[in-house]
Amino acid sequence: MALKNESLGGVIRDDVVEPVLRRVRENLLQTVLPITVLLVIWGGVASYISDPGTLPGPLITFEQTYYLTFTEDPYGLTALDHVRVTFVRAIVASVLVLLLSVVFGILMAVVKPVGDSLVNFLPLGMTVPAVVIILLSLVWFGFHESGLIFAVIVAATPFGVINMWQGARDVNIGLLEMAHSFDASNRMIWRHIYIPHLLPYLFGSYRYILGMVWKVTVLGEVFGLSDGLGAMLRTHFQFGNIEIVLGYLMLFVGIVLIIEYVFLKPLEDHLFRWRT
């Protein structure tokens, strides 16, 4: 066991590939079955319409994805490069959103006046359509990356803050009382009560934020940037290349699934193993 683990390949096999395969095996019904059903329906509808310009079938689409992934466009970029650009933007933005959410969520719970006043503004932030935020911010900050990231932060932060605020308020008073009765210091209380208590909320929030950030980032790229997944979708949509649009989409979906099943889920399982 120890020997097997020594090489990097071994580590990847044991710690990444194995758990993923195990999860697929264990959830065969929940993973493979719905995907198959989806593909069958898609294929059926596509062959019924039999117009690849409106709805290309799965086979053409995946061929397209394969082709796009490995072929350079006139600027020397493959689909993978564009998705990577979008990916980096989304990660940067989502981490910033998460930080803001943690800080303000906790602040709202700890400092009552902050909570009382922000709670009135958050619904406002949540109801303004993302498109409006994107357009305004691109106009104000220019049609490039910084404008886009600003828009994403404005659009997603209120949701994250609400989530973290909820978590911070849900801390078990009984545990705090217990800690005080055993003379625990504030450091101990933060390290062993607040932080572990908040961690599941942090995870939940990040999932939610990331979903939101993907959408807003791509939308922003559609409106105002020249690279990234959104820009490609716009270009190919304009030329009516629906199979290329779907080809891009599949690549994107694949990457999002990999992030979920290879990184987030295993990390979550490890961190929250105490939940029976």
């Binding site: 009984g174 217990m178 005080h180 009765s181 003379d183 572990p196 939940r275």
Partner: protein, 267 residues
């Protein structure tokens, strides 16, 4: 069986004297709620002292004050012959719910209350092993609390309280959420622990049979925040839970209680 004698002057040195203790809460609507009204409590060294009373009469509040988690409004506490602030009383607290950190193992839960005491790693290790042994959970050290039964979780709570090696054990209805069979086992184990460790136990319950079965002395609090009755329970040990003699004592105490409640309600 050890025959305990009523503490005499000589070995009463470590006793607790609470005098004129008062506590008033201001409720949300601004109303004042007198929870403890000028009460006096004396608990002898090594005594099993039980506080009884109806729900909401201030039993938990009394324990919280002794544990130093809420301040008292007025009153003095004397321990081992000298005045002491409640925050300095050497207590271990066992709650009605186990109040464990579900994200830490049983061993870590115990270790946490030892971290900030002047103990070396090996001393802490020894304590953890000791107290888990005492409550019969040495095999569960690496388990997470959510995997244990309710009774076992309560045992972890007791182990944690014992870990700080307190002279006084505060117990707030520790068995009230357990089924009767489990509760009986835990009561007997508690009596064994009490005998072997000679700790002072201040125990809160609203179960009269539990009080009579366990205690040397039972004190009644009423809803006005006063102590209205105190009884020494002098039955020989080991006691039998369904012994008619105990049932008789219970009935007599219940009568005292209801008579008193009737008088304060009719005033």
């Amino acid at each position: 069986m050890v025959n305990r004698t009523i503490a005499s002057e000589g070995d009463d040195l470590m006793s607790i004297h609470v005098t004129n203790l008062s506590k008033t809460f201001t409720e949300d609507e601004g109303e004042e709620l007198v929870v403890l009204d000028d009460i006096d409590v004396t608990v002898g060294d090594g005594e099993f002292y039980t506080v009884m009373g109806p729900s909401g009469c201030g039993k938990s509040t009394l324990l919280n004050i002794l544990a130093g988690t809420i301040p008292m409004d007025r009153g003095e506490i004397e321990y081992a012959g000298s005045p002491i602030s409640p925050t300095d009383l050497p207590v271990g607290y066992v709650f009605q719910e186990p109040r464990l950190l579900n994200w830490r193992t049983v061993g870590e839960n115990v270790d946490l209350v030892l971290r900030e005491r002047d103990l070396s790693k090996s001393q802490r290790e020894e304590r953890i092993v000791d107290v888990l042994e005492m409550v019969g959970l040495h095999d569960e050290r690496e388990s997470y609390p959510l995997r244990l039964s309710g009774g076992m979780r309560q045992r972890v709570g007791i182990a944690r309280a014992l870990a700080v090696d307190p002279s006084i054990l505060l117990m707030d209805e520790p068995f009230s959420s357990l089924d009767e069979l489990t509760a009986r086992n835990l009561r007997d184990d508690l009596l064994d622990l009490w005998k072997s460790t000679e700790k002072t136990i201040i125990f809160v319950t609203h179960d009269i049979s539990e009080a009579v079965y366990l205690s040397e002395s039972v004190t009644f609090l009423d809803t006005r925040g006063r102590i209205f009755h105190q009884s020494e329970i002098e039955h020989d040990r080991p006691r039998e839970p369904d012994d008619p003699a105990l049932l008789e004592t219970e009935a007599a105490l219940m009568k005292t209680f209801f008579d008193h409640m009737a008088t304060i309600q009719s005033v």
